[in-house]
């Protein structure tokens, strides 16, 4: 009896609609209304600076090595004071899957995730971010750590003056 079944099936959808008409709406009116994201939300990546205001990134290639989709590329260079830095640094956000493995690999806390997820563009090339687009003017999640102060080589401070280092040895000294 298909007719009877069709008639029976006609009413329940109206009932469902009617029942929900008086409920509080759940839709967020984005972009008029911005969603509140958890603090550890993983979205656009940034390159932070250390407390002295220097670039934290030392272009060690660990983020690009950890990246499962190969969206990070860079070239390291040496500054006059011996500091290793990225002469260019590129993240292709069209390829990035926001897994955050790069931030876990980063030994200097340079690359960090932010909660800015609004990075859709019409032109995929505009999703290729260069170092200037990535570098921010703050320390990000950690405002204390400075890699070069811990590294044990004389870049941030002369050799032997960093915390927990003794002064350079005199190799011609024969005292016991």
């Amino acid at each position: 009896m298909p007719l009877l079944r069709d008639i029976k099936g006609f009413f329940p959808p109206f009932w469902v609609t009617f029942r929900n008409m008086f409920r509080k709406p759940v839709t967020v009116q984005y972009p008029e209304q911005m969603p509140e994201l958890p603090e550890r939300y993983r979205a656009r990546l940034v390159l932070t600076r250390d407390p002295d205001g220097e670039e934290r990134c030392v272009a060690c290639h660990l983020c690009s090595g950890a990246c499962p989709v190969d969206c990070i590329s860079m070239q390291a260079a040496e500054a006059e004071d011996g500091r290793r830095y990225a002469s260019w640094f590129r993240i292709n956000f069209a390829r990035c899957i926001f897994c955050g493995l790069c931030t876990e690999a980063c030994p200097t806390l340079a690359i960090q995730v932010t909660s800015d997820f609004e990075i859709s563009k019409r032109d995929p090339l505009k999703l290729v971010y260069e170092k200037d687009d990535l570098l921010v003017d703050h320390c990000g999640h950690n405002d204390e750590y400075s890699f070069y102060r811990q590294a044990g080589i004389g870049v941030a401070a002369p050799r032997g003056t960093n915390p927990s280092e003794s002064a350079p040895v005199d190799v011609k000294d024969l005292l016991p």
């Binding site: 060690c60 290639h61 260019w88 090339l125 032997g160 000294d173």
Partner: protein, 784 residues
């Protein structure tokens, strides 16, 4: 041959093998730092601890120092050994800085690997870390002493193995320091090896500083193209740029190390002026168009003017495949057989090595094991640097080295030097003189004698004389072996392919019958004797075609230029000086490096199908296209093997392998050497390759520039005094090739009656390896 048990696996090893080496044979890796196969063990790092359960000395032992014994039982993974090694790892890290992210060794660091393997992660000790001040060690090596773990590998490599004198260990207790007595460039020609030997990042390659990580590098086994020894290397490149070369292992050839020329001489691949575009004059062409034009023009000229009108020129830089296909293309278009070298005397010397001496050739390994090496007309550090290290190994194991040469030869070992002029060298080898008989007697007295024959100095005639000496010194029990030094990486290969008699390139060019010259990866302006005459002869040509990957002066003169790939960008075969047929694999693809296209900044932001500058294709592929064949390399090699039966079956070879020597033949070369009469008051002209920049590849390497030496003419002080000349004076060197203005340098270690000039980047006009010639040296300015 004791049989021992390691981790419940039995292995039988030769007497004297250590437990560590025995475990290696079973595939059990015992962590270690100070042990190195070439350097031996010193027991300095304490990392290779194992427990000896059964044996003369039971308990925890250093496996690199304990010799294998019959019935020995060893465990490597018991709790005691594992804990001990973990503690060793922890204490080695006590002073190690926290700088792996900015260390070039990161990713290929043995210390990193061992620390992670032993599970050490957190520094429990809260005391202060020891620091050092670093030294400036010159353009090649960067030092960061804070990272040192005192394994002594650097000093054992530099000083003990390679014979460097200006590097050592200083200090006491935990202040031990590895470096020079004061800042300065490392003098040894093998300094780069401490980069490979250092298990952590104390010594790193300065020319590769902060360029790439190990895991990002494209690497492949290759053959060093800088001299005829054919050392095994692993070049590494990234982003279209060849960034470094490290040594690879071939125990028959270089062993574990390479020289600085090979290590730092690779940047010719990235030369900023390297031609990457086919051109006719100022017109840009595609490679296909250029090949078409080459083919049409060659056939047209042969039809019009006969087979003599087209001359093809191969080279010792080009691979065996290229030279062979060049010969086949010559047959196809009907011109005369190509010359495979622009430098006839060098080529003839190589032919003597490839044919006459073929049954006496020996590898560098045999040189290292020899008890008497007599080097005749050879300056190893200039012609084949790793031979110098091999000679040192011979001396270290009790052998003797004797050198007969007009040049002030230096070697990294003790040796006896007899300074003789080039004509005296030929007298020495004639078999009748007193010195000659003494030499034969000396060789007869040795158990494993090796004659090193300097092909450049001796020439074909001298090499043939040397063969007689070698025959006279051989007996039923053992052969007197010969280790020849030739002109280039594939000199032997080019010699093996070509017919024993040939005319000179110049005489043929000057005959005016030649309308078209095709130079394949060679520049006679820099590589042939009498290059001024050659330059004049070029104007007689109707068409000059150059196929090359270097920005040589000849490519400027070329009517048609076709770019080819460097050895690191293509597959191929080189045959080294002792006839070892070695394959090399492609490392990077030819293209403009990203550092160039991006001008140092980030790479260009555009989508393109083809990388800029990726036109060059391997020269053997060019000739395959000309021949209308599109076979792959294995098929081509199979054909080549059938045509040239002396070659080893290519299927048995692989890049980076030990490889085999080509078969020897009964064919003989017939060359005579005439000693020209010396004009009045003349000196014998000796042209020697400079240690750096004599071969074209290192001349075009920017990295080696700090090592290039100034041009000068050297005389014995006695000769200088006889001419009233003083050290440092401006003099004129009058040769058959013209006069040259040079600075005089007096050197009492060279032969009397000789004038010595170095061919290098600063003086390119005279090329080593010519026939005996005479010159005059006088003060004042020349008219020309």
């Amino acid at each position: 041959m004791p049989t021992l048990t390691i981790d419940n696996q039995q292995v039988t090893v030769p007497d004297g093998t250590t437990v560590l080496e025995a475990a290696e044979q079973l595939g059990i890796v015992i962590p270690h730092f100070c042990y190195h196969k070439a350097l031996g063990a010193v027991g300095a790092c304490r990392m290779c601890a194992v427990t000896v359960v059964e044996g003369t000395f039971k308990g925890l032992k250093m496996s690199c120092l304990v010799k294998a014994e019959e019935g020995m039982v060893v465990t490597t993974d018991d709790q005691q050994s594992v804990e001990f090694r973990a503690r060793v790892s922890e204490w080695l890290m006590l002073n190690h800085p926290h700088d792996c992210p900015v260390c070039d060794e990161g990713g290929e660091c043995q210390l990193q690997e061992m620390t992670i393997a032993s599970g050490h992660g957190l520094r429990r000790y809260t005391g202060k870390k020891r620091t050092y001040n670093n030294q400036q060690l010159g353009p090649f090596i960067a030092q960061e002493m804070n990272r040192c773990i005192q394994c002594y590998r650097c000093v054992r490599t530099y000083k003990d193995y390679c014979g460097g004198k200006d590097f050592g260990v200083m200090g006491s207790r935990n202040r031990v320091f590895f470096g020079r007595f004061k800042d300065g460039t490392l003098e040894s020609d093998f300094s780069g090896n401490i980069v490979d030997a250092c298990p952590t990042g104390v010594f790193t390659d300065k020319t590769y500083r902060f360029k790439s990580r190990y895991w990002d590098l494209q690497e492949a086994p290759s053959i060093c193209p800088h001299c005829s020894l054919g050392c095994s290397t692993v070049p590494g490149g990234r982003y279209g740029e060849l960034q470094r070369v490290r040594s690879s292992v071939n125990e028959k050839v270089n062993g574990f190390f390479i020289c600085d020329r090979g290590r730092f001489g690779s940047s010719y691949v990235n030369h900023p002026e390297r031609p990457r575009q086919a051109t006719r004059g100022s017109w840009k062409l595609t490679v296909d168009e250029a090949l078409q034009q080459l083919d049409v023009k060659a056939r047209e000229l042969i039809n019009q003017h006969g087979p003599e009108s087209v001359l093809l020129l191969g080279s010792n830089r080009a691979s065996l495949e290229t030279n062979w296909l060049l010969q086949r293309w010559a047959e196809e278009i009907g011109c005369r057989a190509p010359l495979l070298s622009a430098h006839l005397p060098r080529h003839q010397a190589a032919q003597v090595a490839a044919f006459d001496l073929a049954d006496r050739l020996c590898s560098l390994e045999k040189v290292r094991q020899s008890d008497l090496v007599v080097a005749i007309g050879a300056d190893p550090l200039a012609e084949a640097p790793m031979l110098g290290v091999a000679l040192r190994q011979a001396v270290r194991s009790g052998g003797k080295v004797k050198v007969f040469d007009p040049r002030p030869v230096e070697l990294p070992c003790d040796f006896e030097k007899q300074t003789v002029s080039p004509t005296e060298l030929l007298d020495l080898l004639d078999g009748t003189s007193v010195e000659s008989k003494q030499l034969v007697d000396l060789l007869r007295g040795a158990e494993r004698p090796v004659l090193v024959a300097g092909g450049l100095m001796l020439g074909a005639g001298g090499m043939l004389r040397l063969k007689k000496i070698a025959a006279a010194a051989s007996n039923d029990q053992r052969n007197c072996l010969v280790h020849p030094l030739l002109g280039g990486a594939n000199s032997f290969g080019a010699a093996l392919l070509s017919l024993p008699e040939q005319d000179d390139l110049l005489t043929r060019l000057e005959s005016e019958r030649i309308k078209m010259l095709v130079c394949v990866e060679t520049d006679p302006l820099l590589e042939a004797p009498d290059n001024e005459r050659f330059a004049k002869a070029l104007s007689l040509l109707e068409e000059l075609v150059v196929l090359d990957y270097l920005p040589t002066p000849l490519s400027v003169h070329a009517n048609l230029f076709i770019p080819t790939t460097a050895p690191v960008e293509s597959e191929g075969t080189f045959i080294n000086n002792e006839g070892r047929q070695q394959l090399f694999a492609p490392v990077i693809k030819p293209r403009l490096p990203i550092s160039v296209t991006g001008e140092g900044n980030h790479p260009p932001r555009e989508f393109i199908d083809v990388a800029p500058g990726s036109d060059p294709i391997p020269s053997w592929q060019l000739f395959q296209q000309l021949l209308g064949e599109a076979t792959d390399l294995p098929t081509l090699r199979e054909k080549m093997k059938t045509a040239v039966p002396r070659l080893i079956d290519f299927e048995t070879l692989q890049p980076g392998g030990v490889s085999c020597r080509v078969a020897h033949v009964d064919e003989r070369c017939i060359y005579t050497d005439e000693i020209p009469a010396a004009p009045e008051e003349s000196l014998q002209l000796v042209v020697t390759p400079a240690r750096y920049g004599s071969d074209l590849l290192s001349r075009y390497s920017a990295k080696l520039q700090p090592r290039f030496t100034e041009a000068c003419v050297q005389l014995h002080p006695q000769d200088a005094a006889a001419r009233g000349l003083q050290d440092g004076a401006k003099v004129v060197l009058d040769t058959v090739e013209g006069p040259f203005n040079l600075t005089l340098k007096c050197n009492d270690k060279m032969a009397i009656g000789c004038a010595l000039v170095e061919n290098g980047p600063k003086f390119q006009q005279l090329v080593p390896g010519g026939k005996l010639s005479f010159c005059k040296v006088h003060a004042g300015m020349s008219h020309g």
